[in-house]
């Protein structure tokens, strides 16, 4: 146990200030402290990606980041990318294309995919498979996840074209 420190992070647009031990893992800050339970814990070793969130514009596995490292950052979780009345195209696409089964990997999968589509708006299947390789799914075999991401990309690109 060590002395608590003062931290400030912004999660899904909301500023949060608190005292915590520096060794607290970001996933626990989110899940235990802030009650944001969308990101999940699957391995605690950065392999499975169930805890993936976006930190300062980058996909990050929050199970291996200390809260001290996240001080002052802006974080987006699955809870921050859509609402029940206005789902993110990825949320719609995963439902439509059976891109999930048990749902445990889904929040990490979708938040990672949302970043991937910012990095590569029109990815090939190979780019999707490579770009999503940090997120493990034990149920779907990925085929429908790939399909969901392709469908969301198409939807987002056509919406963007319509807006331009």
């Amino acid at each position: 146990m060590s002395k608590k420190q003062h931290y400030k992070i912004t999660v899904n647009g909301k500023e949060e200030e608190f005292l915590a031990e520096p060794r607290e893992l970001l996933i626990h800050t989110l899940r235990e402290r802030l009650k944001i339970t969308g990101p999940h814990i699957g391995c605690e070793t950065s392999h499975c990606g169930a805890c993936t969130v976006t930190v300062n514009g980058k996909s990050v596995k929050s199970c291996t980041v200390f809260v001290a490292q996240a001080d002052g950052t802006e974080i987006t979780t699955i809870e921050g990318i859509g609402s029940p009345d206005a789902l993110h195209p990825l949320q719609e696409a995963f439902k439509e294309h059976h891109g999930l089964q048990c749902g445990f990997c889904t929040p990490g999968m979708i938040i990672r995919a949302s970043k991937l589509l910012e990095e590569i708006p029109n990815p090939s299947e190979e780019e999707i498979r490579f770009g999503m390789a940090g997120n493990i799914c034990r149920c779907t075999g990925y085929q429908n996840i790939v399909k969901s991401i392709q469908a969301a990309a198409a939807e987002m690109n056509s919406a963007k074209e319509a807006a331009e």
Binding site: E21, H40, C43, H98, C137
Partner: protein, 809 residues
């Protein structure tokens, strides 16, 4: 009226009943991060529990010093076996008729075994507290090989010896040695040996189906909350069988069953890992009773891989006899099963080796004999069915390898060898030599469809050319064609021969129709991703004529759901799905009487049509199920009780026997050992298809878990009993990068005894997939003299095979 203009076709479509690819109702919450998994549960004053675990695989415990740990801030208590002993809870019964230490009682038998349980304020205090517990161990000789264990003087389980040192019978009969658990036999030994002795051709092979782990993405866990005011214990957890857990908790704790409520919330995958009862559950319950506060225990990944529920670990020797023409005349299968330190296999009581006696596969084999010896070693207990019905993966792997080995011996094409030995369509129901009665099948049709779809002859020609090119130095890549035809045995099962801890393996469904024509149905099963809330509503929609979208399916709360044995072994659709249909038919029977009353005709003069009862011969006179539902609650109908509810407990008359034909085409780089799956074709026949989208998803997922097991996933130990694959760094879970796209196909052979003809599908692709991937690897090396190499076929082992065959020049 809308009903009058709506076509019958539209009315059928509007129900979203069986056969349509209804989108999943579960997905809204999962895609928005609003799933409710056990670790999401937070209760006022909730404490945490975690284990001090043994670093040794076999050691005597000299002393446990908890003094320093109790001084660590946030640590409230440290439980050891001594604390549990007065409650009789330091050991617990296993599902296999053995007993298992809850906390180390004088010794440890495997690395990672639970030694002490710290009760703490939060997860960080747990880590600090565990570190401060001092345990003195005295190391003992370690046995990690079951064959050596059977010869060793080292006694692993002193608790099972009689006072005079003799070896009393175990739960499954006589034990031959102090490290022997049981011998289980099926079939006829002498006639089988005679057939083999006198056969034209006998192929023999020894194979090891390695130890692996189901490894769902969510680990096991629970929250126990003892309400001392009302004397009621609530236990939330990742339970694949919540009712069975309730009964077990009642039996071992002495708390009356009505005072225990077990809740399985959303479960992040199970695959067999979450069937059994684990020390974490018992300790959490005790800690909650002692502290009066809720206590949460969640495994970390290492705990999960090292301690809860391994799968497989079967050493199998087979002999298969045939005529010169390739007609199989007999099979002998001999298994040494490594069960680890305790026999905690999750099998029906009468089947200590599960349904291994389905190992004659899809073939008409007149004579067969199976013997299985269970053995204690210094490994973790378990032996669960990882995405399969009890040991069926082992059985199917065995026969599908033996067929290949026989084909080599006969110098025959393996597809043709299968074809000439299939059980013929007209032989069903088929009595197999090892005891099972296969309910239905049409194997030839499925096989021909599969071979045609992949252009099998073309593939073989291409492969032959590739071998020529390889020999001529034009390529360094070999091509393997993996074949598998599998028959699963699922839907356990008939109460007459299937029980777990004495609980018959029926299942249940209770339906309540609401006055406005919607409904809730509750089942004894529990989804872990299979989409029960979607598919069971489809069964009901077709049975009772209310839209699936108006039917809520609820599972996993023992206070509200009818008793059932849970979800594993592909039993949900075969058993609870049948109960759902049967309960639906009870609703329909009462609805018929109500409709007849409303239409002022005799009961027999109305007939069910999609969503209504209509007068026979006068379809314009009808009452919809909506109208009938309302009438059930607002009219006094002579001779009929108000309300519209039904419950069914379904005891299946037989198992169901889904089958499938798989082909895998693989290119293998001889110099790197890297296999690339070029094509995978999967034809599944699961009988009546409820939701094709979900079936396809199950096939993709099952095949991917099969790929993992065949190509790298392993729980490996060193000679000291150290787990070498305790994290996801070493334990192979395929990513999107390694996994191919699959082609799915189907035939439909409904189960003749199931109310809707469904057979179950969730596990078929895993059962059929493992031998198919393995056969592809082995087939690539067949032209160079390979008959069999053991899984997992990781890059290193494939490279080694190539090297041993002299392919590296």
């Amino acid at each position: 009226m809308k009903d009058e203009v709506e076509s019958r076709e539209d009315r059928v479509a509007g129900l979203k009943g069986m056969g349509c690819s209804r989108k999943r109702v579960e997905d809204a919450r999962f895609t928005q991060g609003k799933g409710n998994y056990v670790d999401d549960l937070k209760l006022d004053g909730m404490l945490f529990g975690d284990f001090v675990r043994s670093p040794y695989a076999h050691a005597r415990i000299v002393n446990i010093d908890t003094e320093a740990a109790l001084k660590v801030p946030g640590v409230l208590a440290v439980l050891t076996a001594k604390d549990l002993e007065p409650l009789g809870l330091h050991w617990m019964p296993t599902l296999a008729g053995d007993k298992q230490m809850v906390l180390a009682d004088g010794k440890v038998l495997f690395q990672g075994q639970e030694v002490a349980y710290v009760v703490v304020q939060d997860r960080y205090a747990a880590a600090d507290g565990i570190e401060a517990v001092e345990v003195d161990y005295e190391e003992l000789p370690v046995l990690v090989n079951p064959f050596e264990a059977l010869k060793s003087d080292v006694v692993l389980r002193e608790d099972l010896l009689a006072e005079d040192g003799s070896i009393p019978d175990g739960a499954h009969g006589p034990r031959k040695h102090h490290n022997h658990i049981f011998t289980w036999e099926a079939g006829d030994k002498d006639p089988t040996l005679e057939v083999i002795d006198n056969a034209d051709v006998v192929a023999e092979e020894t194979m090891y189906y390695h130890r692996t782990h189901p490894c769902p993405l969510e680990t096991c866990g629970c929250v126990a909350s003892m309400d001392k005011v009302n004397g009621k214990l609530t236990l939330w957890g990742t339970f694949q069988a919540p009712h069975a857990i309730r009964t077990v908790v009642s039996l071992i704790s002495g708390i009356e069953e009505h005072n225990i409520r077990v809740i399985s919330p959303d479960i992040g995958g199970g695959f067999g890992n979450k069937v059994g009862a684990y020390p974490g559950y018992v300790c959490s319950v005790v800690a909650s009773i002692v502290t009066g506060k809720p206590v949460k225990w969640i495994e970390d990944r290492m705990d999960n891989l090292m301690t809860t529920a391994f799968a497989r670990d079967y050493h199998m020797t087979g002999r298969i006899a045939a005529t010169k023409e390739g007609k199989i005349t007999g099979v002998h299968c001999s298994v040494t099963a490594d069960h680890g330190g305790f026999d905690a296999c999750a099998d029906p009581t009468k089947f200590p080796a599960g349904f291994m006696n389905i190992c004659t596969g899809s073939y008409d084999i007149p004579t067969a004999y199976l013997e299985v010896d269970g053995v204690y070693t210094n490994k973790a207990p378990g032996g669960v069915s990882y995405r399969c019905s009890f040991r069926v993966t082992e059985a199917v792997y065995f026969i599908e390898r033996m067929i290949e080995v026989l084909a080599i011996k006969l110098n025959m094409d393996a597809a043709e060898l299968r074809r000439i030995n299939f059980i013929k369509k007209e032989q069903f129901p088929y009595q197999a030599a090892l005891g099972w009665e296969y309910d239905s099948g049409d194997y030839h049709t499925a096989w021909d469809k599969a071979l045609k779809a992949v252009d099998y002859d073309g593939l073989r020609a291409e492969q032959a050319q590739r071998v020529e090119d390889f020999k001529a130095g034009k390529t360094r890549k070999l091509m393997g064609i993996g074949l598998t035809f599998f028959t699963e045995i699922v839907g356990a099962g008939p109460v007459k021969n299937c029980d777990i801890l004495g609980l018959g393996m029926f299942d249940s469904c209770e339906i309540r129709i609401h006055p406005t024509g919607s409904a809730i149905a509750r089942l004894g099963t529990i989804s872990q991703g299979q989409g029960h809330a979607t598919t069971f509503a489809q069964i009901l929609a077709s049975e009772i004529g209310l839209p699936a979208d108006s039917i809520t399916i609820e599972e996993g709360d023992t206070d509200t759901a009818p008793y059932g044995l849970g979800t594993y072994g592909s039993r949900s659709t075969p058993v609870a799905g049948a109960a759902t249909a049967m309960a639906g038919r009870k609703i329909r029977a009462k609805a018929q009487m109500i409709a007849a009353y409303l239409l002022e005709v005799h009961d027999d003069d109305v007939e069910f049509d999609v969503d209504r009862f209509a007068v026979k011969g006068a379809p314009e006179k009808f009452k919809t199920m909506n109208e009938i539902a309302f009438a059930a609650y607002n009219q006094a109908i002579p001779g009929i009780e108000p309300g519209l509810e039904a419950v069914s407990y379904y005891d299946p008359p037989n198992m169901t026997y889904p089958f499938g034909a798989y082909v895998c085409v693989m290119d293998i780089d001889v110099d790197t050992g890297v296999p690339v799956i070029r094509r995978f074709y999967a034809l599944d026949d699961c009988g009546t298809r409820i939701n094709p989208m979900i079936i396809e998803g199950q096939v993709h997922g099952g095949l991917t878990e099969a790929l993992a097991v065949a190509l790298g996933q392993e729980i490996a130990y060193d000679d000291m009993g150290n787990v070498k694959t305790g994290t996801l760094m070493d334990f192979f879970l395929p990513t999107a990068w390694e996994v191919p796209n699959y082609e799915t196909d189907h035939t439909v052979t409904p189960s003749p005894h199931h109310p809707i003809g469904a057979k179950g599908v969730g596990e078929s692709p895993h059962v059929g997939g493992v031998p198919c991937f393995s056969n592809a690897v082995q087939d690539a090396f067949r032209p160079f003299g390979n008959t069999h190499t053991n899984m997992p076929h990781d890059h290193w082992r494939i490279w080694k095979t190539a090297n041993e065959l002299g392919l590296h020049g």
